[in-house]
Amino acid sequence: MGSGPGGLQLSYSLSRFGVKHAVLSADEAVGGMFRRWPFFQRLLSWTKPYVQFERTTREFERYDWNSLIADESRHRGVITEIMDGSSNYPSRPEMERSLTTFAERTGVRVRLACTWQGTRREDDGFVLETTDGEYRCRVPVFAVGVAQPWRPSMPGIELAAHYADTRPANTYAGKRIFLIGKENSAFELATGFLPWARQLVLASPSPTKLSITTNSLVGVRARYVQPYEDHVIGGGGVTLLNASIEAVERAGDAFRVRTKRSDGSGDLVFEADDVIAATGFTAPLQDLVALGVATVGRNRLPAQTPLWESASLPGLYFAGTIHQASPGLRKHGMPSNSGGVNGHRYNGRILARHIARTHFGIEPARPVLRAAEVIPFLLGELTNGPELWHQKAYLARVLLADAARGIADDGVRPLAHFLDAGTGDAVAATVEENAAGDIYPCLYIRRGGDVREVLLPPNPLLDYRTAENERQLADALAPLLAS
């Protein structure tokens, strides 16, 4: 269910495994949220067309955060053909066209304008009730996005507009704007309002985090830092406030917002012409919660296993940006990139393989590596494997030590699944980072049921194919390679 990037990627990948399926979507065209947002029409994830790898290679994906991924070289890097070169961040229409083009070229077929209305269990599967009738399936996958406006409960919040209701920027000329929230969507609006607004206040209880200081994608992205700079240098138009919002009230034609500062230093009251809740989004889960889907977090996304199955309702899966609620290990507090296309596109491919294997008995290929190939292969993957770089400490390249076949490549798997559900002697290789900003490779070696963590040193050029690492891997893997 869903025709945004999550649904399209999963459909493409299911087809490559030969799994028959239908894609349904309430929308009139594919593209999901990118048919509407971001409001100011340019993404915050980049694609750099001119790098050391050709656009048709798998390695190029590391530099292209926006294209869906394909096995065939001719379907790779689609967005590079569409971007006009004015920015390394695609515009919203370019992103939308990239998704449409991918679907057309790869033969992804979607039943559009088909609205999901209800869900029930039947026999060993599920029934989806839609405006086009009932669909029966063994495995439903919901790729319905995280684009339904979400507001926290506070007195008067219903008076505030939501990010989703934002008007054209010029209609805010000379206005005093109060934004509830200090995350990316609030900063995106604030950046867009800078040329128009008289006063901008951004308020929420905790301090603003910036991605460049958290050393991760947690926090406001570099593209939207300008209002922050305006505030810290006292530019005069922007105020960032650490305060809880006590109430939003009408004050004639305007609004009054009552706030309580988080440090206990007292209350502040603001008059504003517009109050906008940039408080995030949730997933339109309809009756899934009543059916037994547990939700988690402030915006109540479905809790999921490491393979994106509902944590409370087996047999029902999620795809796309909803994967952000399957957190993985979060080593050192670092989140996955599953909220973005660059992360969840890989999850989609892994989920397709899991569904094919678990529900349809289709085994993936597991090519055998010669012993001499193992170390160069792993160091090559750690240096250039796009899955490991986009999903640090979340996805890992897994090699299985099989007594009959030798060392077999099990592909890219969720690290949490490898650690908690895997069996047999094996190694998982991933790239990790810590809060200090170090990026380093890490191996998890499972032998006789015990897992050992082996951290390799960082490298300033992010190239781990060094003689020292070859020696370390040879030592660490010797028992596995000998078995």
Binding site: P205, M334, D420
Partner: protein
């Protein structure tokens, strides 16, 4: 959990946050992430670096060291702080034995969090003292 107010109410009902004002609790509600673990899922992994501080909101978990259950954890209990404070990997697994909801703070942020909220640090210290006393009693009886 549903609304921000409910999150804050839940925090207020936990012993380690008992001394905080409502604005402080709202701030903390933003600082901590909620996570849900189905039954049998591992929450903390013995021997792996980069772990986190967890506070149980609902459900039940077991601490398992080398295959042996050493402790059971329920609402209001917390775990993971020892490995974080010592900068060492956990010496036990923690596994959900019923569906489990936790508040989670990344290990790297615990020190700043405790410095910023000394009353929480005091409550944690009290709980650690209680654990030490109980362990001592067990040894001497």
């Amino acid at each position: 959990m549903a609304t921000q107010e409910e999150v804050v109410d839940t925090l207020a009902s936990l012993a380690i946050f008992a001394d905080l004002t409502r604005p402080e609790l709202e701030h903390i509600a933003h600082e901590l992430d909620e996570q849900y673990f189905p039954q049998d899922q591992r929450v903390l992994r013995q021997g792996l670096s980069g772990s986190a501080f967890h506070i149980v909101l609902e459900g039940e978990a077991a601490a398992v060291a080398s295959g042996e259950r050493v402790n059971t954890l329920a609402r209001g209990d917390f775990f993971g702080e020892i490995s974080v404070l010592l900068g060492e990997p956990p010496t036990a697994d923690v596994v959900a034995i019923r569906p489990l909801r936790c508040l989670v703070l990344a290990g790297d942020r615990l020190e700043a969090f405790l410095v910023e909220h000394p009353r929480v640090a005091f409550r944690i210290l009290q709980a650690e003292a209680r654990k030490l006393r109980n362990a001592t009693r067990r040894k001497t009886t």
